[in-house]
Each structure stands twice: as structure tokens, then as C-alpha cells.
Symmetry: C2
Subunit: 302 residues, 2 copies
């Protein structure tokens, strides 16, 4: 099935289930929410809910399995939306993302597998976490299309030293952030557009070149996930291009200069889960291979 013919959440999920869509879900079913998927043994569920409640910006909990072991219906954590509006009946959380990861006792067991029907048990609970694809559409519509979207690359994501609030077994985690470059003069508009997506990471957590150090990011051109960011012409690294401008002594107009803008990222809870050393089988979608939902962007805009 051609990507362009997939216009609803249900179509995206069915294409993932029957193997006709196997790649990143970026750009799939435009206008529909996409979700990070984390599937945990039930004994960790309370702590995970607390982790999300205490860290709503990087860990925006949208919904979870309607009951322990339930893989075909969810209950909503979003005001004014019920579970069936988020994920319609007939869905299958074990097969409806294009690709999955499986961890056993915190060690990777399967990478990019097609489904997790063999691993799912009556003791598992799936959690759906918000994703920034939603606000990217809104940014593009406001004439502020993220560069990586225009260049057909994945958004760069970085580990930071910005601490999460601990919650039960989840301790010592830090924010993962995504980065999109913008001209300094556009940052306020970018903040305004994304602020309305409070349930999907919302406005940036930090921005500007100083923020790189504040967040403890070592190399802006070497993200831990996604593709390294390029300069405007796609010729070299975004960070290297700036260094070269500085070396050439080019005086930059404050407003014209491009700066990195950082958002909370849905990889954060996955990292926290990995770091916690959980026992048993944990599953997740493969990076970029999200679960596409029936709810639409406008359903969650504030």
C-alpha cells in the first residue's frame, strides 16, 4: 500500500498488521495522532503511571490497555476523549505498529520484529505515549516546517542530563529531547504554535546555543537517535556549520541566526524503562514505527 493512500489511523494499523506498511510512520495518515508504545508486566504499571504523571512533558500518557492483558481496547488519559475514540475496536496492540522491539530482563531480545503476539501475555499492560509528529504538521501549516521534514530525514534526538522526577522503580532517568533548528526571531512563534499541543510535549523545554550545554548535550551533530541535523543547504552538520561561521568571524544578526530548539521526546519513558532494569518481558514499538491512532490532532489541541 502506498503511503499516500493511507489516510486514516485504521488504514495505517491494518497496513502495519498485514505487512504492507513496514517502515517509519512519519507522514502517515496526516492529521492523526501517533503514539509511542510501551508494554510492561502489570507489577510495574502503577510506578509507570506515576512516572508519567510526574513528568508529563516528556512522558505524556494518552491511554493504556483497558484491562490487564487487554490488547484490543484502551482507556483514555486524555480529557474529553474516550478510549474507543483514541483506538477503535478491532485494533490489536500486538500487531498494529509496523515494527516492535522485545526486551527480556532488560536485554534486547528481538529488534524490529513484525509483531509481539508470541510475547504478549495476560499479565501485560500497553501504554500509549504522545509523539511530536502532531505538532510538526501544525508547524508546517504555520510556515515553520521543521527542517528534517523538508529534507526527508528523521528528527535528531539526544540524551540529556536534565533529570526526571523519580517514581517507584523508575529512578535516575533523564529527559530525551528532540531538536529542530529555527531562526532566533521565529522561536516565539514556534513556542506559540506548539504550546497548544500540551498533551504531545507542548512548547520547547529549552532553546538557543547555550541550551546545548545546559542540557548536557555533547555533540549537536551526533544525536543518540534519529539522523544528524544538517545545515540549511543540507551540506554539513548544523553544529559544524555554525562553528565555521564563528571561525570566519561572521557577525550574525541575532534574529537571523539559527539556534537549536529542544522539545521533550517520547523516547524518554523508554529510556527510563530500560534504565530501571525491569524483570520479565518488556515490549515497545521500534523507533519511528509508531502506532497510528484514530484520534486527530484537533482533538487534543488546547
Amino acid at each position: 500500500m502506498m503511503k499516500t493512500s493511507i489516510v486514516t489511523g485504521q488504514q495505517a494499523r491494518l497496513a502495519s498488521r498485514n505487512g504492507t506498511h513496514t517502515t517509519s510512520t512519519s507522514g502517515l495518515a496526516p492529521g492523526h495522532l501517533q503514539a509511542n508504545l510501551i508494554i510492561l508486566p502489570s507489577r510495574y504499571a502503577n510506578d509507570f503511571r506515576t512516572l508519567c504523571a510526574r513528568n508529563p512533558v516528556p512522558c505524556p500518557l494518552i491511554a493504556e490497555s483497558a484491562a490487564k492483558g487487554c490488547s484490543d481496547a484502551v482507556v483514555s488519559h486524555i480529557k474529553n476523549l474516550v478510549g474507543d475514540e483514541i483506538l477503535g475496536r478491532g485494533s490489536d496492540l500486538r500487531r498494529d505498529a509496523p515494527r516492535y522491539m522485545v526486551y527480556r530482563d532488560s536485554k534486547l531480545e528481538k529488534s524490529h520484529c513484525e509483531d509481539v503476539t508470541a510475547e504478549w501475555t495476560g499479565d501485560h499492560i500497553a501504554f500509549l505515549i504522545g509523539c511530536s509528529y502532531s505538532f510538526e504538521t501544525a508547524l508546517a501549516e504555520a510556515g515553520l516546517a521543521p527542517r528534517q521534514l523538508v529534507q526527508g530525514r528523521n528528527v535528531p534526538m539526544y540524551r540529556t542530563t536534565m533529570g526526571l522526577c523519580a517514581a517507584g522503580v523508575f529512578r535516575g532517568g533523564t529527559y530525551v529531547v528532540s531538536m529542530r533548528p529555527y531562526r532566533r526571531r521565529d522561536v516565539e512563534r514556534v513556542r506559540e504554535v506548539t504550546r497548544r499541543f500540551g498533551a504531545m510535549h507542548g512548547e520547547p523545554v529549552d532553546w538557543g546555543w547555550d541550551a546545548v550545554g545546559r542540557l548536557g548535550i555533547g555533540d549537536i551533530d551526533g544525536p543518540e537517535w534519529g539522523d544528524g541535523p544538517l545545515d540549511e543547504e543540507g551540506r554539513m552538520g548544523f553544529g559544524r556549520a555554525r562553528e565555521e561561521r564563528l571561525l570566519r568571524g561572521e557577525v550574525e544578526d541575532d534574529g537571523d541566526e539559527e539556534v537549536p530548539v529542544f522539545w521533550g521526546c517520547g523516547v524518554t519513558p523508554q529510556e527510563a524503562v530500560m534504565r530501571a532494569g525491569l524483570e520479565g518481558v518488556v515490549m515497545a514499538h521500534a523507533p519511528g514505527h509508531m502506532l497510528v491512532l484514530d484520534a486527530r490532532d484537533e482533538d487534543i489541541v488546547e
Copy 2:
């Protein structure tokens, strides 16, 4: 009025209003919630709500003025509680805390004044933020009474380098944390007891001697607010006592050793407000001189 004769939130507020109670509200009306009070010009209200929503652990928003300029009724931000259950009719947010602070254009104008009736305008909105007095009662009942409570001192509070998520005009803020020492072997129980107070800072954000560095706290014996923490015998600083034990080469049993335990603190949003350089008149309760509510601890326990 004697402190011990004040057993309801309304009694505490009336005693504050008529000037018979003028000191810290610690221990007043046991079992009733107490709140940090922040009163802002209405144009900052949306950003402040977002700040609280994005940082619920240090900034747990309980309620706010029922409308712009309304000083005698609140709307609730707590599930299953309506405004009148939090703060009964007949209250007066301008007079019902024992002492207030007034800032004009971000500069302190009045310290520890009796009321803010002269400064309050039809454009002001009051915000009620959770306070850790609630879980201290629960800790004491579990046989884990916080030291400063036993010693009749104020809890020590520290500025940290742990970043808040930015929200509108509120940018670059950091957590303020409160600290209570506990034996290492008791930390898990302390976490369990306070975890249930999710709407009042909940479980600790960090703990252990390593946490002092992680949080960027310079001197554990020199808190920015409250009283310096003492050792068990009340003889010297909690941090200095440990240094002397280390110098004497005393090998400590891991479980017996006392470690600092840190919680998110309701001074955080005040600090964020001060840092934002707001224009106009901002008001707050004086530190420790809280607004006592009609809602009870058990109303918000999870």
C-alpha cells in the same frame, strides 16, 4: 487564640484575618491541607497554569480564583473536589493567610504585611499550590516523623540546578527542594508513605549524599530558606556531623547511615515568578505563613 484551639481550616483563616494568629501555620488545624498562595496579574495566568501543568511535582496547582478579581471563591484543579470544598464561602484570599509579601515590578515592596486588601485589584488571580505539611503528618503517623518537626524547626529548602520545563514567560526556573534526613534503610518506606500525596509533591525527587551534587546544592547546612538542618542530637549541622564521622574514619553501616531526602517544594513557583521579571503587582503568602484550607489530607490521598 492558642494554636491548639485552632482545629479547622476556617478557624485558622479567621484567626489570621483578625490578627490573633500571626506566625507560621505549621501544626495548625492538623489534618487540613495548607496552600502556598501566589497572586498574579491576569495576563500571566495562562502561562502560570502551563508552568504548573508542566511541572506538577514542585508546582501542584490545587485551585485558583473562581474568576478574575474574585477573592472569596476558588475553582478546583483537584479531581473529585469542588472549589467550595477546598475553600469555603466567606473566605478572603486577601486577608486569610497570617502574613503576605508584595512585589511591584518584581521588586519587594512589603514584607510580612497583614493583608493585601489595598493591593488586590479586579485584575488579580490567586493560585493555591500544594504544600508538604500534609505528608509530614502521614510520615509522623508512620513512625517516621521529620526531624525538624521533632526539633521545632523549619524544614530546610534549597535552590537546585534541576531545571523546570519552560512555560511562556516563565523560563530558566529551577526546582526548589525541601530536605528531611532519614536512615538509608527507611528511605523506601518514606517514599511509599509520601507517594500517596501525589497532589502535594508526592514521593522524593532524589535522595542520598550523591544527590546533593546531582541537585547542585552547595552547602547542605546552609539552606536558602528555612532553618539549617541539625544532627540527631541537635548539636551541629547535619552535613558537618557527617564530615566529622568521615574524618574519624567511622565505617558506617549502609542501612544505618542518615542520608538527605529531597522533595519538590512549593517555593519553586514563587522563585519562577520572581525570576520571570513580571510587571505589575504580584503577591504571595510569607514563607511558612500558609493559607489553611477546608479540604483534609485524606481528600487528596491516592
